[in-house]
Amino acid sequence: MGSIAALYEREIVKWFRQKIQLVFVVIIPLMWMGLFGKSLNFSMLFRIPYVPGIEPMRAQIQHLIEEYIVKRYFGTYDYFSFFVVGMLSVFILFTTMWSGMSIVFDRRLGYLNRFLVAPIPRYSIVVSKILSSVTRSLIQSSALLVIALALGLSLRAGVGPLEILVLYTIITALAISFSSIFTAAAIRITSHDLVISIANLVNLPLMFTSNAIFPTQQMPEYLQIIARLNPITHANNINRYFLLGVGDPESLTGSAVYMILFTVASLAIAMILSRKIE
């Protein structure tokens, strides 16, 4: 335990020492929310412009379109909020997918040898990397949450500490899973280029094969299966229900069970592979 704490402190001290990192923590969500989030404004797409002749019925048609298209499809009239809650999970992926990098660099720069000759269990090296990656991704997603609130994220009425606790439990579980997988993948990798390739390979596909940007019901059958295996889908399912009141309450148990199994399995894989570190 002492060795995990010592190694974890090293990671965190180094991260906070790079002041520019903290600037990026703020800039990245600003870019995504301000540019991407606001440009994908589906609510606006379904707004009927002035059409001569239908003017008396315009408000009624508008209401029907929003009710039967936007609301039925996204579960809310407010696409921006739908998008933001999805991105809370995606940002966990975007941050943790680099967690293998630090093991690769520790090896390249010779630091790893110091840890390997010390009388510490091998898993403490891997666990400290996972914990620091979890910490950083939670900070990143928290920054996103605050910025999105300022940019117009509207949570459902009655969201209190309990709902926020659910949110953090879910994204922490997601962060542990992804950090474990990406750290474990890097245990025997010696080239940082390969880590970059892996991250680039998975980031967009994992985002698009989930319900982060679009709901999954319009996807072809095979994509829906993939989406159901993607833990981001289940995280969003739970988070959207508690924060936005969107979704089917009956699906929550399934999603929660899947999240627990996925997290335990990922962590177990990382712990087993940590013996291979050299």
Binding site: G2, S3, A5, A6, L7, E9, R10, V13, K14, R17, Q18, L109, G110, Y111, N113, R114, F115, L116, V117, A118, P119, I120, E278
Partner: protein
């Protein structure tokens, strides 16, 4: 336990049939400084990594204080300090933070680790630089920091892999001083590798010369050098008359006298002992003595003798002169 390190018949074959070690065996006793000397690629670092539990040998065994490295690596890790050839301190942390981290990995509490770090940093002369980022350290400071990091667990065995690689002469001498002090003050056993002949000669109780994965000869540096024969005294003299050589040859300890380009080349068992007697003989001759030089046999010559090859000299040109200045100062 008499032997701190027992290495028996170590082989290491890397993929592609690259034979790094070809049956290395040696023993190091308690309190000894034992150097493994050899050119780059001879197998020094491979041997150190196997002893430090970082690498598994293809065959052969290593015991540290009687504990088998292969079957009980974590017990071995507890009693060794390892200073790798590549710099291993985190340059984004301060020197103090690096040593504290290292100490905590050996089970010290935060408070104890901080005390230990302070003490070690003072010892290697980094007390004032303790709170600076390692990035700002000079090469010599970084090597001293590495040394401090290798001592956090008060090891029985300190393994130094090329401890002065890439250092300038002053920094090298300073580091030698610290290593020497460690040996004097403690019961520490030091196993080090180097490809600097002078380093092995100056610091070690015993030297093993390794070439192509085999130890070709081993022994105290002076023993190795004496196998070369003896010291050489060259005397430049204005006029050489016939019987000088005969007179010199009869002096005790003189092994032979030659005339080389007008100089007397005298091979003696020991230059220090022979010189006093030679001066008496030289005072009685007619010629004017214009210069005397003494050449000690070096480990370079031992290396050449036992490998049949020249040892590539990678020292800065003025190194030997610096060495002499330093020796005089001590």
């Amino acid at each position: 336990m008499l032997w701190v390190v027992e290495v028996e018949d170590l082989y290491k074959v890397y993929p592609g049939d690259i034979r790094a070690l070809n049956g290395v065996s040696f023993r190091v006793s308690r309190g000894e400084i034992y150097s493994i000397l050899g050119p780059n690629g001879a197998g020094k670092t491979t041997t150190m990594k196997i002893i430090a539990t970082l690498l598994k040998p293809t065959s052969g065994s290593v015991r540290v204080s009687g504990i088998d490295v292969a079957s009980n690596p974590s017990s071995v890790r507890r009693i060794i300090g390892y200073v790798p050839q590549d710099l291993s301190a985190d340059d984004e942390l301060t020197g103090f933070e690096n040593v504290v981290l290292q100490a905590r990995l050996y089970g010290l509490s935060k408070g104890d680790a901080a005390r230990k770090a302070k003490e070690l940093l003072e010892m290697v002369g980094l007390g004032d630089a303790a709170n600076r980022l390692v990035r700002s350290y000079s090469g010599g400071m970084r090597r001293r920091l590495e040394l401090a990091m290798g001592l956090v667990n008060d090891p029985e065995l300190l393994i130094l892999d090329e401890p002065t690689l890439g250092l300038d002469v002053q920094s090298r001498l300073a580091l030698w001083d610290y290593i020497y002090r460690l040996k004097r003050e403690g019961n520490l056993t030091i196993l080090m590798t180097t490809h600097y002949m002078d380093e092995a000669d100056r610091l070690s109780d015993r030297v093993a010369i390794i070439d192509r994965g085999r130890i070709v000869i081993e022994g105290p540096p002076n023993n190795l050098k004496s196998r070369i024969g003896g010291d050489i005294i060259m005397i430049k003299i204005s006029s050489v008359s016939g019987d000088i050589a005969g007179k010199i040859a009869s002096v005790e300890g003189v092994l032979g006298v030659d005339l080389v380009e007008g100089n007397l080349r005298i091979k003696v068992r020991s230059a220090e002992q022979a010189m006093a007697k030679l001066l008496g003989v030289l005072g009685s001759i007619n010629g004017q003595i214009e210069g005397i030089s003494i050449t000690k046999p070096t480990l370079d010559q031992v290396f050449i003798e036992y490998t049949g090859r020249m040892f590539r000299d990678e020292e800065p040109g003025d190194f030997r002169r610096q060495m002499m200045v330093w020796r005089r100062r001590r």
